[in-house]
């Protein structure tokens, strides 16, 4: 079984993102970029499934400009066997991304397509579900535990009510939640080895997909600021402040 893992290049989660003063977007010049944290978790899980002998190949793929190859190399250094880069000049939105992944699936025939539950830049939380719809296969989103056996996966999902367990037939789409695992650190020798692993790059046009009508970005603004806080010196002061506000 092959596992296809999506890796999106995003602004590192530690960066405090700022909106450009002209409202045309957010400041990304010179900002640290990383693999989307959820995707790193998805890759870690795929590697563990392979290490348990339940998969033979882990393929990482990313859609974007040539710089996404950095994240693909990191994925290869973590242990993926090969990488696919779908080159686009402009960022794609979830439905187009899902159509691209479907093309890769048709070619590679993986047993699992593993995505992150959400990209921490657009915070859409859509692509995995869309891919499952287009592929007409099961989806197990927000996974915090995955067990594979006999062509099925039993997946525990983080839902508002607690933990839901579903059983799905493979092939299927899984999306990772934060508590699925803790990704491994990349070791220096692995970075060297990763340089020799195959990385295929293809233009989006070569895939023959129709780009979905995209949402038009009108403007970007910083979030409303919360009013300045007040420090209190004692519990009594805190309680009386809360009483004054009519909250107690």
């Amino acid at each position: 079984m092959k596992i296809l893992v999506a890796l999106k290049r995003v602004v590192d989660y530690n960066v405090r993102v700022r909106v450009k003063s002209d409202g045309s977007g957010v400041e990304t010049d010179g900002v640290k970029m990383s693999i989307n944290p959820f995707d790193e978790i998805a890759l870690e899980e795929a590697l563990r499934i392979k290490e348990r002998g339940q998969a033979d190949e882990v393929i990482v793929c990313s859609i974007g400009g040539s710089d996404v190859q950095q994240q693909l190399r990191t994925g290869l250094a973590m242990g993926a066997d090969r990488a696919i880069h779908v080159e686009t000049a402009t960022a794609v939105q979830p439905l187009t991304a899902a159509r691209i992944f479907l093309k890769l699936i048709e070619k590679e025939q993986p047993g699992i397509a593993f995505l992150g539950k959400q990209a921490i830049d657009d915070d859409c939380n859509q692509t995995g579900q869309m891919l499952a719809a287009l592929w007409d296969r099961p989806q197990a989103t927000f996974a915090s535990k995955v067990e594979i056996s006999d062509g099925k996966a039993t997946v525990t999902r983080e839902v508002d009510a607690g933990l839901e367990t579903i059983e799905i037939d493979l092939p299927a789409v899984l999306t990772s939640d934060l508590r699925l695992n803790e990704p491994r650190f990349v070791k220096l020798p692995d970075i060297m080895k990763a340089k020799r692993k195959p990385l295929d790059s293809m233009a989006i046009d070569a895939l023959g997909i129709e780009t979905a009508a995209e949402l038009e970005a009108v403007t970007f603004e910083p979030p409303p600021k919360r009013g300045g806080g007040k420090m209190v010196g004692s519990i009594d002061e805190l309680v009386s402040e809360l009483k004054n506000k009519g909250l107690l």
Partner: protein
């Protein structure tokens, strides 16, 4: 044609308050016809509750044994089959809506607007990106319906002063047979619901153990509050996952929020930005939580929390 379809979220007997908030979001669109669809094995009770929501003009009750547990793979084609009659299809931005609606959007062939926090006009919306560090205004192109999830913390629940008609409808899709519900386990805490409680008391990594978390539960009980937590507290196993507040947990808007032993990482703050009053208790006067807290108290939570409980 302007007509809105809202996908009801429920547990089989009770309509989730997230649906009432979605109705408020829909009311802001300035479109008169608002339908709510209830997929359930026995929709009667839930359909009745949906019909009472102010602004709802019609409830579609779709009964089928398959709908005992809501599975996206089963429900998305049902929504796609209804889509032709609607200009807008909305669901709450809960784990239910997030799981289901993008699957339906892909079948319909449109991108989704996730986490709508403000309606500008019928096709233009504000939504948070980068963990709430930026707010994007996006416009949905013509040529397909608007499919969107409503950020529930941004909208109050609709009142229950209406009386819409309930129409029975037949299920139109079949069970794909590849996805099976096994079980759902919740903590079934006896306190109020975290997503809608007026007061929430949250604890962080500083609590140190699940036993120590008892002081948070105790303070919450005294105030009739719900208990929440930071991701660090959940990851460490002090409390179950459904208590996580933040970018990847629950986005809440209580009147009063206590952040106790929580540093104030951006991913946590994005979950509480709409809270009325934020109180922070932290031993580190430099903790970022104090930058957004309305009331801050520096000190050791293990001393302060029991004292505070006594003082109330």
């Amino acid at each position: 044609m302007s007509r809105i379809l809202i996908i009801a979220e429920h547990d089989g007997t009770t309509l989730n308050v997230a649906t009432a908030k979605t109705v408020t979001g829909a009311n802001a669109l300035g479109i008169d016809d608002i339908d709510v669809v209830v997929f359930a094995d026995d929709p009667e009770a839930v359909a009745g509750q949906a019909a009472a929501l102010t602004g709802v003009s019609r409830v579609l009750a779709v009964a089928h044994a398959d709908f005992l547990h809501p599975l996206a793979a089963r429900l998305a084609p049902e929504i796609a089959a209804l889509a032709g009659d609607y200009s807008h299809i909305l669901a709450p931005s809960t784990t239910f809506g997030k799981d289901l609606l993008p699957r339906a959007a892909a079948l319909i062939g449109v991108n989704q607007v996730s986490d709508i926090m403000e309606v500008i006009d019928a096709r233009t919306f504000k939504r948070p990106i980068y963990a709430g560090n930026a707010i994007a205004t996006v416009r949905v192109p013509e040529g397909g319906p608007v499919v969107g999830t409503i950020r529930t913390a941004s909208f109050a629940a609709a009142e229950s002063e209406g009386s819409a008609d309930v129409e029975q409808r037949e299920a139109q899709a079949a069970d794909p047979g590849h996805t099976r519900f096994v079980k759902v386990e919740g903590s079934d805490g006896d306190g109020p619901d975290l997503s809608s409680a007026p007061i929430v008391v949250s604890g962080g990594r500083a609590l140190g153990s699940s036993d120590n978390f008892a002081i948070i539960y105790s303070l919450a009980r005294k105030m009739g509050a719900a208990v929440g937590a930071s991701r660090a507290a959940v990851d460490a196993g002090y409390v179950p996952n459904e208590l996580q507040v933040g970018q990847t947990g629950k986005i809440i808007a209580p009147d009063l929020y206590f952040a106790i032993g929580i540093s104030g990482a951006i991913q946590h703050l994005t979950g509480i930005k709409d809270a009325g009053t934020i109180v922070a208790i932290n031993k580190d006067a430099e903790a970022p939580i104090f930058e957004i807290a309305d009331l801050g108290l520096v000190g050791d939570l293990f001393e302060i929390v029991p004292e505070l409980e006594k003082a109330l």
